[in-house]
């Protein structure tokens, strides 16, 4: 068969969102790839300049539909940095709990979306069943299933409801049991390993230059996590470890990236438990929150997909003058020709799925 271009997307089961991957194939081997974005470009940055600071949390919620809290949190952090707001201790603990719950839900969303890529529908439904548990948890304080609008500038919207801790503990226990149970179905399954091992390899040095961050970078064995290395909230007071895996010396494949996320889920459970143990009483909202701001500030946080950075410039009015979002997936998708070349067509979903794509944040 001669070389030909296949255009996958925007409507394609592989894409997990709206983007087009054009691949040049020789038979079934990928020779070249060209990702194309922009089908979901909603001009969030421009619209943010028209809205007041506090209203923008609705936009940041909708940045990444799988992990909205982390993005709102990143925005709130950077605006708090800009406005020099002190967040109460209890609010910080609640934020950490919500962030980790969101990370769990986001990773479960990813795992659920990854399994059909490998032809494993049951896996998807198992993970989505567990995600439902965490959505119910997140729904209880915030009042919405997906886009919470819970973290506000200066704290959180309201305190955790009664019995939240017990409910969380029950669900975490159930989920831990299930994770152990799933090991046989997924990571210990021979066919699953055949599909994911030695596929989509890149080294740590390559990944850093390509702009790949987050679990994908930790899958190469690099110990880099912004919760530790640019610490925020109360992550420095809590005892936890950065989870890394590597497929070989300094490189990652789909399986190591999968395992990193599974390990991170276990780690998140640990963090949540410890947060509940240490949580003090107190207010959940800063007493005085300015409306207007001047200057510039940025914070970066560890999103479920990598490094999230928001850069806010204020000009003294009640709306941001410029607001820039750094999405981890934007650069990761741009690098996809580097890690797709040489593999088969059937590997495309396996590789792109293991990267954990979210187009909402990418296209902004």
């Amino acid at each position: 068969m001669a070389e030909m271009w296949i255009s996958m997307g925007p409507q394609h089961p592989m894409t997990h969102g709206l983007w087009t991957l054009k691949v040049k194939v020789d038979g079934e081997t990928i020779v070249d790839a060209d990702p194309e974005l922009g089908y979901l470009h909603r001009s969030v940055e421009k619209m943010g300049e028209r809205r007041k600071y506090f209203m923008n949390t609705t936009l940041t919620d909708r940045l990444c539909y799988a992990s909205s809290t982390t993005w709102t949190h990143c925005y709130a952090l950077s605006v708090e940095e800009l406005m020099e707001v002190e967040v109460p201790q209890r609010a910080q603990y609640i934020r950490t709990i919500m962030l980790e719950l969101q990370r769990l839900a986001s990773h479960l969303m990813w795992a659920g979306a990854y399994m059909p890529d490998l032809g494993h529908i049951t896996g998807a439904l198992y993970f989505w069943r567990d995600r439902e548990l965490f959505l119910n948890l997140l729904e209880a304080p915030s009042g919405s299933r997906l886009l919470y609008n819970y973290i506000r500038i200066g704290g959180v919207k309201r305190d955790l409801p009664d019995g939240f801790e017990q409910k969380t503990e029950r669900i975490l226990k159930l989920f831990e049991q299930r994770l152990d149970e799933y090991a046989d179905l997924f990571e210990n399954s021979k066919i699953f390993r055949m599909r994911t091992e030695d596929v989509g390899k890149f080294t740590a040095a390559q990944a850093q230059n390509l702009g790949i961050t987050g679990p994908n970078l930790r899958g190469c064995g690099t110990k880099f996590d912004l919760r530790e290395h640019d610490t925020y909230e109360i992550y420095d007071e809590i005892d936890w470890d950065i989870q890394t895996r590597e497929a070989g010396p300094g490189y990652s494949d789909c399986f190591s990236r999968y395992m990193v996320r599974i390990d991170e889920m276990r780690e998140s459970i640990k963090i949540i438990r410890e947060c509940f143990k240490k949580m003090p009483a107190g207010p959940t909202m800063a007493s005085k929150i300015p409306v207007r701001a001047t200057g510039e500030a940025f914070r970066r946080t560890e999103d479920s997909r990598g490094e999230a950075l928001m850069y806010v410039v204020g000009d003294g009015s009640d709306r941001p003058y410029r607001w820039k979002i750094k999405s981890p997936m934007f650069t990761t998708i741009s690098a996809c020709p580097h890690y797709l070349k040489g593999y088969k067509v059937a590997d495309i979903p396996a590789i792109m799925g293991s990267i954990d794509i979210c187009i909402g944040e990418t296209d902004k």
Binding site: I6, G119, S189
Partner: protein, 411 residues
């Protein structure tokens, strides 16, 4: 009483009391030269005419059983999948027929939907099928129109053809040829032509890759499949399903249990199971329609009833594959007495089908190169080993045992 004699009796009855009087009546109405009704009546009285009519009945019965099975299999698949995934699956119940009845009566009833989704769900397949009839049939502008329409016809006809080739038991068979299984396997390998044709004719890159994959998969799996079947043929000395099943029943194991072929030929059984899975294109071998990378594989461009025919044909092929497996390795319709053999046969087939359904919802899909590697590098040698074992059993072991029993007499 065998199926054919039953059909023959039915044909005689129908011919005598229904068809011949009608034709004779018609023949009397018109001048004899232009009207063939009288000739038909005469022909129906002969042995050939009755046989033909009996054949018609037999084929129709087999077809009806096959189609009923098809619906049951699809329903089984959906329900078992749902149970594996901790949910309920389709629940469209007979209660929703009430709405249909109200429609047919011509009155417009109040809208009640709550009770519709609280049943076993067997109506869901009916609804899907009937809906497919009403859908528009789209032929893409740049497709090869003739081949595009021919693809589903080849696929479904070869699959339905399979249905009439199976004996449900030695007495319940629409057709029984001495080369029965060879004909079945030949019919099995017609369908990929339809796949390739429709994949190519759609003028869609996904469809074409799907068709190509199908061809490649067929080529690499047909050989180990037939080689693993060869062991059974050698053991039975025949291609006839009836002979094969009888042979399995005759050879006994300890405690006088029948030694079905999957015991002596365990390797062959495993190879055959893998190959027939690949042959009927089920997960983990459903590469031609791999949903993740090739949208719907070779069926991407097909709409409406054409697509439903593909779907139905796939399940028919699955059913047929399980039936072949039962005949070859699991003793066919043999089983303890109080249950009729036809039921035994269907039970075994359904057992295999359920096993396949479990496999389908348990493991991911295998990659193209891995599937070909498995076929050529692993299954082919294994099937050859199986043949060696059978040759040892059939030819060398009797010779050796004869020699061994003779040895004391010699010395």
């Amino acid at each position: 009483m065998s199926l054919f004699s039953f059909c023959k009796a039915m044909a005689e009855w129908t011919a005598d009391y229904m068809l011949i009087p009608v034709f004779n009546f018609q023949a009397g109405l018109f001048p004899p030269f232009s009207n063939p009704a009288g000739d038909i009546a005469d022909w129906l009285e002969t042995d050939g005419g009755l046989n033909t009519l009996a054949w018609l009945f037999a084929v129709n019965i087999a077809f009806a059983i096959g189609m009923t099975n098809l619906i049951i299999v699809i329903h089984l698949e959906r329900k078992i999948a749902a149970r594996i995934q901790d949910r309920r699956g389709p629940m469209l119940s007979l209660r929703s027929f009430r709405e249909l009845g109200e429609d047919l009566a011509g009155n417009s009833p109040s809208w009640r939907f709550k009770q519709n989704y609280a049943g076993i769900g067997i109506l869901q397949n009916m609804a899907d099928g009937i809906k497919a009839i009403t859908k528009e049939l789209i032929i893409p502008a740049k497709a090869d129109k003739f081949l595009f329409t021919m693809g589903p016809i080849i696929f479904i006809s070869s699959s339905v053809f399979l249905l009439v080739l199976f004996p449900l038991s030695d007495r319940f068979a629409a057709s029984s040829a001495p080369a029965g299984l060879m004909v079945i396997m030949a019919a099995f390998s017609i369908a990929p032509i339809g796949v390739l044709t429709s994949g190519w004719a759609s003028n869609n890159k996904y469809s074409m890759i799907g068709g190509m994959r199908s061809a490649a998969q067929l080529m690499s799996y047909e050989i180990p499949l037939l080689l693993s079947m060869a062991g059974v043929f050698l053991l039975a000395g025949s291609f006839d399903p009836v002979t094969i099943v009888e042979q399995q029943q005759q050879s006994t194991w300890f405690f006088g249990l029948p030694m079905w072929n999957f015991i002596p030929q365990f390797i062959g059984f495993i190879v055959f199971m893998i190959c027939i899975l690949a042959e009927v294109e089920r997960v983990p071998f459903d590469l031609p329609e791999a949903e993740a990378e090739l949208v719907e594989g070779w069926t991407t461009e097909y709409s409406g009833i054409r697509y439903m025919l593909f779907l139905a044909a796939e399940y028919i092929r699955g059913f047929a594959g399980a039936a072949v497996c039962t005949i070859l390795f699991l003793g066919g319709w043999a089983g303890p007495w109080p249950v009729p053999p036809e039921v035994w046969f269907l039970l075994k087939v359904y057992l295999i089908l359920i096993f396949w359904i479990f496999i389908r919802w348990t493991v991911p899909r295998i990659r193209t190169d891995q599937i070909l590697e498995l076929g050529w590098k692993k299954l082919l040698p294994l099937s050859l080993i199986n043949i060696l074992i059978v040759i040892f059993m059939v030819e060398i072991y009797p010779y050796l045992s004869d020699t061994l029993t003779l040895l004391p007499e010699v010395f």
